[in-house]
Symmetry: D2
C-alpha cells in the first residue's frame, strides 16, 4: 500500500488533496450495531474546521460530511463506512508562484523526490487538510469507544513557553472547549491567544504541545512486541502534520529518575484488579494497557508557512527567495487537538477489536 | 496478527520467550543477491549480548545465531531468512517467587489481563530478550542499507543528567564502541559508568537517552500520510522495552522556537538536488526523507527490576511486598544502542523497498 | 480489516451497498505518472453497467464515475485515487417483502448470522452492485498494465452446455464486444442469447464459464509460497458474486493426463529467454509467471434470484414460501466478463509492483 | 512481504528450502489457552512425511518437530508459536546436473526470472517440502477448531480417471487412513495403488482430485467482498504445489443447471437456525458460511518430475535434453490430503477469530 491505511481490524483509508475535488475516508471493520449518524461525525469535524476562530486559518470550508454506506436505520452494518467532504474554498491560483520552487520545511521537495510529480496547489496530500478523513473516522471510533466505556480528551498544554497548569486527571471537555485556544487553563489560554495574535501580525508562527488522556480503557489492549500500545500511539500521533515528538507517561523527564522512584507500585483495586499508586507508566506497561489513564504529550513545531523572506531553490536547482502567501494557521495547536484525539481513538478502537481475538470466544461451536 | 510482525515489504516476524527453548526471527521480503553470512548477524548480536561488560546483566548467553534458510553460497535468495538463537542460561527457578504476584512496572499484570495466562519464567514475551530476533534481522537490513549507501549509528547521549557533548554529524562507530557505556564522549562515559556502578550497588537503576543518526539515506523514503518516515521510526523505537519518548530533529525543544528560526532553508546542492542549510527537520519533511541526516532521540526509563522492597498485589488480589531477584541490567542504555539501530535499520530497509514501487520501473514490458 | 481491501502494493478498498447513497473505491499505491482520465474508467464501467442490453438486468444506472483525488493534469500523483458512483435507480421499496425472510442461495441469512443486522434493501453489500468499485479500480490497473505491455481479455466461453469454439490465443476484444453475450464465437453467441431469453421468460436463470487470457505478462510475477500468482488469481475471481470454481491452464482436465504428456517442454526463445512449446501450465509455473499467456476459466452458478416459488424460512424461524421480484440478470455471464478482467488486472498490477522490490534497484544510493 | 505469510489474525509465516538446514513456521495470533503439545503437531506431519509408504517419495525424513515458543505447561500463551523441522536426508549432490538447466514444468526458470538467483539443490523454496511448515501450523489450527466444534477431513477422490464413490457427508478419517492412497473407497483405492505403481515403473506420473469437507463450522465466517470464505479457501489450496483448479459446492457442474434446480431451499432447523435442504452452495452463501458442510475439490496435475527425456534449455539459452533423477512422488495425491486439510484449517481458524471482531463484545468496559 501507499501508507494511506491505518489499523488492522478497525482499518481506515483516507484519500484527497488540499485542493482536489473532495476528501474522504473508508472505515473497514467497524463492528455492526454501533449507533451512528452524520451529526456524530460533524461534531468532531467542526472542531477541526478552518475558520472556526480568529486564531486559525481563515480558509472558509464548511466541511459537511456525507456518509455513503455502512449505516442503516441509525446503526452500523459492519460493512465499510464511506464518507466524503467536498473542497469548496480551494484557491489553487494562490499557489501559482510555487509551481517551480520548494517551500522551506514543507513537503514540496520531498514529494517530488518521491513521486517525480507534485500537485503544486497547496500542500497536496501533505496538507493538514488530509486530516479531515482522520477526524471523521476518529468520530466513529469515539462512538465505539463510548459504547465500551472509554473516552479520549486532548488539550493544548503549551504554546512556546506558555504552559498550562492543570491536572490531567481533572481536565474536562467543557474546560477545553471554553476557549478557542483549547487550553483549559484560563490564564495560560489568554496568554496563548495573545502570543498567537502577535506572531500572526509579525508574519511568523509558533508551536507547542498537546496533551491527551484516555480514560476508562480496559486493561489488556496492545500487543507485547512491535504493536505495543505506546508504539502504536506514537506512530499515530507522529503521523500528524508538524508533529516532532511524543512522550508517554513520564517520558523524557522519567530519564532523570531512578527505578526506585519511577516504578508504579500496585495496590488492590475494585473488581479484584490491581491499581497503580502512581502513573509514571502512563497507563501502559510492557506495551499493554493496565486500566489507568493513558497520558501522552505531542510536540508540534511552528507552522512552516510564514510571511518572511526565505532562501530556497527552484525545481531547476537555481537559488531564489520566497515569501509565502495563502491562508494558513499561525499556530496549529488549537486545531491539532481534535486531530490528536482522532488518532488516539483510532488506535484504541483497533486494539479493542484485536483484543477480542486473544482468546477463543465461548459458544463458538454451532453444536453448543 | 498478534503484533509480532514488523514491516510491509521487508517484513520481520519474531518469536520466543525469555526462558523458552529458543528465540528466532523470519525475514520475508529481503531482496535477492545481498551478501550475507552468519558472521554479519553475529556482530550485531554480540553488541546486544548480556554479559558483555560489568555494566550490564550477567546472564551468560553466547547468543550464537543459526541461519536456516534464504541464503545460498553467501547470497540471499529472496526467500525467507529464518534464524534462531538458543536460550542456554535460562534459570526459570529464579522466578519461582513470582508465580503468583505482579512485579511493579513490569508486564506481569498486563500480560495476564490480556491473555488470561502468563509464563512466569522471567518476562516471557515481554522480556528484552525478545530483541534478539530484532537485532538479528536488523543486521540483515543493515547489509542491505550498506549496499544502498546508507549507515545507521546510535550512541548513549545521556544517562540520568549526565549528557554527552558531541556533534551528531561527527560521531563514529569507533568512538561509540570505545567504551562499554557506548557513550562517545569520554568524559561523560566515565561519569556514566560510575553512575551505573553506583545504582547497581544500591539495588537501584537509571535511565537515559539514545541518539541515532542515519546517514546517506536517499530522499523520497516514507509515505505522506500514516506511514510517514518519522511516524514509522517512532513506532519502531517506541516498541523497544522501556522506551517512553521519541523526538525527531528539533523535537520538544522545537516547540520553543518560531517558524522564522525553525524553518530549514534550501540551497543548491550536488547532483542538482537542494540541500538544507540547517537540519531542524531531522532529515524528514512531510514524512519523507530529504537526504539530510535523520536524527532521533529515544528516552528509556530506569530499569523496572530493582532490589528494593516494593508494594504490589498477588494474582488473588492480596497486597504483598516484593524484592526482585534475578540477573538484570541496572541501566539498559548500553545494550539499547544496537536495539535502536536495529529498529531504525528495519524501517529504512522497508521504506527503501517500498519506494521502489512508487513509479513503474522502465523495461517492465517483456516486449521491450 | 473487514475484507474490503485487496492487494498489497496496488491496494484497493471498496465501499457501498446496492441501495445506499453511493458506491466507491480508493486505490492506494498506484504508481505516479500513469496517464489517467475519468473516460478511461468509464469505458470499463459501461461494459459492467446494468441495462446495457436486453440480456441483463433492466435496472437503469448510468454509473458515472467521479475521480476525487490522486490525479493531476492527466497523470496519477502516486497518492490515493478516490472514486465514487452514485446509486440513482435504487428502489428499496421493491424489497419490502424480504425484510423478514431469507432468499434461498442469497447472502441474506449468512449476513444476518455474521453481523446480527442486515440491510434488507436488495443484496446490501453482497449485491453484484458492489463490483462497481472493483471495475473502476481494474480500469486503472489496466492502464498501468498497458504501460508495461500487458493486456487482459475475457469472454463468455460457455453458458450452460453451449460452448464457444475459439482459440484463446486468437480471441480479440472486437470479437468479444461484437455481441451482447460477450461470446466471441458467433454461432454459440446466438444460441446463448436464445437460451438466456428462454430462461428469462420462464422465470429461471442459467450459469456458465468465463475464460480470461492475460498476454504480455513479464516472467517473474507471483511469489513462491502462499501468494503464488495462480493462488492470487483464484482468490480474486472466486471473490466475485456467483463464482463457484476456477481452473488455471489444464485445470481439472489435466488430472486425466500423465506427466509425460502434461509437462511443457522448453525451447530457446527471443531475448535469450526460454519459451514453452505447450501451455498446460497456463502461463504460471511454481506460482510465478513464465511469460506465456495466463489462461484461466471461472465457473458462475445460475443467478439465485428467480421468479419461481421456493421454500424458505423467516427471521423468526417460521417456514414460508417466496417468489422473488425485483430486477435481476437471468444470466450474469455477459456482465461477469469485465468483472473477471478487473480482478485479473488488480492481481497483475499488484504483483508487477511487488516484483519491483525483489531486487535492490541500482542507484539507490544518494552518493552514487 | 514476500508472500510467505498467510492469514490476518491467525497468521502463519513459513521458511525453508528443500535442502537448506531446516524448515519452520511461526504462528502469530493463536489464541491463548488452547491445549497443545508436540505430539499434536507430529501426528499431522507423519501423514505428510515422505517415505510413509511405497506409493510416495522414498526420501527418508523423520520430520520431527520442535516447538520453541508460545506454549507453557501444555497451553498456548497467545504469543508466537515457533516450530522447526530439520532437513536430515537432503542430497543436494543429486541435483548437480541441474545447476545450469531448467526442468520442464518446474519453477526453475521462473524462480531465476524472479530473483536473478536460484538454489539449484532440489526445488528450493518451490519444493513441496515447504509444506512442512503449513502442515505443522495447520495442526495447531485444527486443535483450535476442535475446541470450537469443527473438523476438517480430506481424501483422494480421484486419480486420473479412477473415481471414488463415496458420500462426502459419510466419509470418516478411519476410512481415509485405512489405505495408503487415502482413498476411502476400497475398490477405487486398490485400482489407484495399481495405477501409481504402474506409472512409477514407467518413469511417468499421474494427478487427481482431493475432496475436503469441513463439518461443524459455525455460520457467519467469511467476509462479504474480497475475503469471501470461498475465495480464501480457493487461494489457500491453489497455493499448494501442483494445484490447478478448485471447486466449491456444485462447482463447474453447477454451470449446467438452472437456478430453479440449483438453489438451496431453507427449512427451519435446530436452535432456530435455518438449514438448507440441499447443499449446492457447498456450505457458503455470499462468501459467508451457512452452517452446512463446506465441500471443496482440488485438482492436482501429474508430478512434473519424470524419468523420461524432455527437451529444455540451459541458463545460457542453449537447447538440451533432460532425464530427471532424484527421489520424487509418482503421484502427489496421498500426501496432498494433509496439505489440503492444513490449508483449510488455517483459513477457518483465521476467519473464526476475525468473526470475533464483527460485533463489540459485551463487558468491554472496565467500569462494567
Amino acid at each position: 500500500m501507499g501508507g494511506s491505511t491505518f489499523g488492522e481490524r478497525f482499518a481506515v483509508t483516507t484519500f484527497g488533496e488540499s485542493h482536489g475535488g473532495a476528501l474522504g475516508v473508508v472505515i473497514d471493520g467497524c463492528p455492526a450495531r454501533i449507533e451512528l449518524s452524520e451529526a456524530d461525525v460533524q461534531a468532531d469535524l467542526d472542531r477541526r474546521r478552518p475558520g472556526q476562530s480568529r486564531l486559525v486559518t481563515q480558509r472558509d470550508e464548511a466541511d459537511r460530511v456525507s456518509i455513503h454506506s455502512g449505516v442503516f436505520e441509525g446503526l452500523t452494518l459492519g460493512t465499510p463506512i464511506g464518507m466524503t467532504v467536498a473542497n469548496t474554498d480551494a484557491r489553487p491560483g494562490a499557489y501559482a508562484d510555487m509551481v517551480d520552487l520548494y517551500r522551506p520545511s514543507h513537503a514540496d521537495y520531498t514529494t517530488e523526490a518521491k513521486y517525480g510529480i507534485r500537485s503544486w496547489q497547496g500542500g497536496g496530500r501533505a496538507s493538514a487538510r488530509e486530516t479531515v478523513g482522520r477526524v471523521a473516522a476518529g468520530a466513529v471510533a469515539r462512538k465505539m469507544l463510548a459504547a465500551a466505556g472509554a473516552e479520549v480528551l486532548g488539550w493544548v498544554s503549551a504554546v512556546r513557553d506558555i504552559v498550562a497548569e492543570v491536572d490531567p486527571a481533572e481536565v474536562t471537555r467543557e474546560a477545553v472547549e471554553a476557549h478557542p485556544t483549547r487550553c483549559p487553563d484560563p490564564a495560560a489560554a489568554a496568554r496563548i491567544a495573545e502570543a498567537i495574535e502577535a506572531v500572526r501580525r509579525d508574519g511568523d508562527s509558533v508551536g507547542g504541545v498537546v496533551t491527551c488522556v484516555s480514560r476508562g480503557v480496559p486493561p489488556g489492549l496492545g500487543e507485547p512486541v512491535f504493536d505495543k500500545l505506546d508504539a502504536e500511539l506514537a506512530r499515530a500521533v507522529m503521523s500528524l502534520p508538524a508533529a516532532k515528538g511524543i512522550e508517554i507517561g513520564s517520558g523524557f523527564a522519567g530519564t532523570l529518575m531512578t527505578g526506585r522512584t519511577h516504578n508504579d507500585e500496585f495496590a488492590p483495586g475494585p473488581h479484584g484488579r490491581p491499581v497503580v499508586l502512581t502513573n509514571r507508566s502512563g497507563g501502559i506497561q510492557g506495551g499493554i494497557s493496565n486500566g489507568a489513564d493513558i497520558v501522552l504529550r505531542v510536540a508540534f513545531k511552528p507552522t512552516a508557512t510564514i510571511a518572511s523572506q526565505q532562501r530556497t531553490v527552484t525545481r531547476q536547482g537555481e537559488p531564489t527567495v520566497l515569501a509565502a502567501r495563502g491562508r494558513h494557521d499561525p499556530c496549529v495547536l488549537p486545531r491539532a487537538v481534535p486531530m490528536v484525539e482522532a488518532m488516539v481513538c483510532l488506535v484504541l478502537a483497533d486494539h479493542l477489536l484485536r483484543q477480542q481475538t486473544t482468546q477463543l470466544a465461548p459458544g463458538s461451536s454451532p453444536r453448543a
